[in-house]
Each structure stands twice: as C-alpha cells, then as structure tokens.
C-alpha cells in the first residue's frame, strides 16, 4: 500500500526529529565517556554514529531515485523500475540501504556496553576502600563516577533502541513508496518483480 503524501511527510518529519534527537544524545554520551576515560567504548560509539549517518545517506539517495521514477508507475512495478534505472544506480542504492542496516547491527555489537557496567562496579567497590582510608574526596569522586557509569549504560541502551527506531521509520517510508527488496540467504539482492527463480538465493556463489 503506497502512503499518501500527507502520511509520507508526517513519517518523514518524525524520522528527521528522531535523527536530531539521536545526534544530541550521542554527542552528550561522547562527552560523558570522555570524562570517564572510556576510550574503547567511545571509539565503538563513534563508529556506530557514523553507521547510522551513512545509512541515512543511503536512504536519502534511494528516495531521490524513487522521485525520479515518477508517480505513475504502479506499486507492483515500482521496485523493478528502480532496479532497472541506468548505471545500476537504483540497485546500488537499495543494496547500500540494506548493507547500512547490517553495518549498524555490527557496530552495536562492537561497543561493549557491559564494559561500562563493569567499570561502574569497579568504581563503586573502590568507594568503601577510599572511605576506610579516610579519603573523603576520592570516595565522593568514585561514587559520582559510579552514577555516571550507570547513566552511560542507560544512554547506550537508548541509542541502540533509537537506531532501531530510525531504521524502522526509514523502512516504513521505503515500503510506503511501494519499494520492496531484501537480502536472500546467500546475500543475493532480491526484490519484488525479480524474475530469477526462488531458489536463486540458495545457490552458493
């Protein structure tokens, strides 16, 4: 079912708002991770943010090409029309869009949120030792850090869910334009209107 232009605009506005919120949250978390000297997690987060931005670029390219197809092509024919655009532009854009989602999932797996939790536990366990040693300033600092670690862990969880939400909103708009494509089991690119046999994606390359 192709979305009306009003619904497409509404979904598009929601997507843009989500992207802006994601950027703000990521920027704040980067500052917190720098303060907590969590360089490995920070590096993973930077790659994750880049993957989300890259996927949004692939989405924008796809939508520009979709606009070029025109509105008179039926839903049943739209994906094939996109793929048949000259110089493999449509197929490449659709493939980049699919690969972008995979890249985000890999990036999420790349940053180890548990490392933040372990650091929190380590920081918290040192508080009592600092108190026993009579170092109130250190105890206070360690306790504050343990709360910041807890906050950073929640922020990482939030960013992962926000990225999934952004991916779903992008898919909603893509499907809402009548575009349907996916990756076959051997990573073959498949789409509605593809006349290769259904077994094609089972054949080893």
């Amino acid at each position: 079912m192709i979305l009306s232009s009003t619904q497409t605009k509404r979904f598009g506005a929601d997507l843009n708002r989500q992207l802006a919120s994601f950027a703000r949250s990521a920027s704040q978390l980067q500052r917190d991770l720098r303060h907590l000297k969590q360089n490995d997690v920070l590096e993973g987060l930077t790659k994750f943010v880049a993957a989300v931005n890259s996927r949004q670029e692939a989405f924008s390219t796809l939508m520009s090409l979709n606009a070029a197809i025109g509105s008179n092509v039926s839903e049943a024919e739209r994906t094939k029309a996109l793929i048949d655009l000259s110089d493999h532009k449509g197929g490449s854009a659709a493939y980049d869009f699919l690969e972008g989602e995979t890249a985000i999932k890999k990036a999420v797996e790349g940053f180890d949120g548990n490392r933040v939790l372990l650091s929190r536990a380590a920081s918290y366990s040192q508080v009592k030792a600092a108190e026993d040693a009579g170092d109130k300033a250190l105890a206070k600092k360690l306790e504050e850090n343990s709360w910041l670690f807890a906050g950073a862990h929640h922020a990482l969880e939030s960013l992962s869910r926000q990225a999934e939400s952004i991916a779903s909103a992008q898919w909603a708009i893509v499907h809402g334009q009548g575009l349907h494509f996916w990756q076959g089991r051997q990573k073959w690119f498949r789409y509605v209107g593809d006349d290769r046999p259904a077994t094609y994606d089972c054949v080893a390359s």
Binding site: M1, R17, S25, G151, E157, R161, S165, S168, A172
Partner: protein
C-alpha cells in the same frame, strides 16, 4: 547533588518531554490506519501508550522532587518516606515492567513488516523503549535507583536494617 550542569539537565528534561509528545502524536497518526488494517496492533498500541503515559507521569514526580536536592542517604530516605513519592516510585517500576512485558510479546512477521504502518508502529515501540532508557539515565543523574522485589520497594541508600527486615533476609 547533580552529576551534570543545570544546562545539561534542563536540556535532557526538555528532550524527554518533547519525545513523549512526539510519541503521542505519532500514535495518533497511526490510530486510523491500524484500526482499519491491523486492529490487534491498534489495541496493543493503546495498551502501550497508556503504560508510557503512566510511566512518564510517575517519572516526572520523581525527578521534580529529587533533582534540586543534595541526595545523601538521609534525604533519599526522607524522599521515600513521602507516601506520594513512594507511590510514584512503585507506579514507575510497575509501568516499566509492564512496558517490557508488552513489547516482548510481539514481533511482526517479515511479510507484515512490508506494511508501512506496521513498520512505523515498530518504530514507535522502539521509541518508547529508548525513552524508558533515557528516563533511567535521568534518574541515575539524580543518583536515584529504585526497584520492587517481592512487592517491596527498594532503593539505593535505603537503611540496611530496613532492607533485611522487609525482605525477611
């Protein structure tokens, strides 16, 4: 005692409120298409939105009271001694658990996800989860962590003897 500047806190509070409003707006725009094409999903969205609003109301009371204070153990206990604060803490914990439960029960099939409205509902649900995580983050910045275990409300900084007698440990 705040772990972030007043500016960061105000920005975070405003962001959470804004996202809550956006989630409300998106749910309203999905209402009619889901009612026509996916009535079960519409009911699920209703239940979820009810829980998200309950969670947000309880969360707001918690942070409104907690954030201006210097939260050492004594005034954490004073906060939880206030009946409406403790009720809000229980309501917050219960609604979070119910949201998690509600979302665990549903994963659309690949074919259903080809529908733009189903995919956008999925986006809405993920936004609710993200909002919940950021609420937990905000509470961490207020140095507040709470949970209910065996029907008893617990929090970091509660008196150790109260914990052991309430849980029967």
């Amino acid at each position: 005692m705040m772990l972030c500047s007043r500016t960061v806190w105000l920005r975070l509070s405003a962001d959470l409120k804004s996202r809550q409003s956006q989630i409300d707006r998106l749910s309203v725009s999905l209402e009619e298409p889901l009612r026509i094409h996916h009535p079960e999903l519409q009911l699920k969205m209703h239940r979820l939105m009810h829980l998200v609003r309950a969670s947000a109301t309880a969360f707001q009371l918690l942070v409104d009271r907690a954030h201006p204070l210097k939260l050492d153990d004594d005034n954490i206990q004073a906060l939880f001694a206030q009946p409406d604060f403790a009720d809000a803490a229980r309501a917050y914990d219960a609604s979070r658990a119910a949201i998690t439960h509600e979302l665990q029960l549903w994963e659309p099939s690949e074919s259903a996800k080809c529908d733009a409205h189903v995919e956008m509902a999925l986006s809405l649900f993920r936004q609710c989860e993200a909002l919940e995580s950021d609420q937990a983050r905000a509470l961490s910045l207020c140095q507040l962590q709470l949970w209910v275990w065996d029907g008893v409300l617990h929090y970091t900084g509660e008196p150790a003897d109260a914990t052991s007698s309430e849980t029967g440990a």
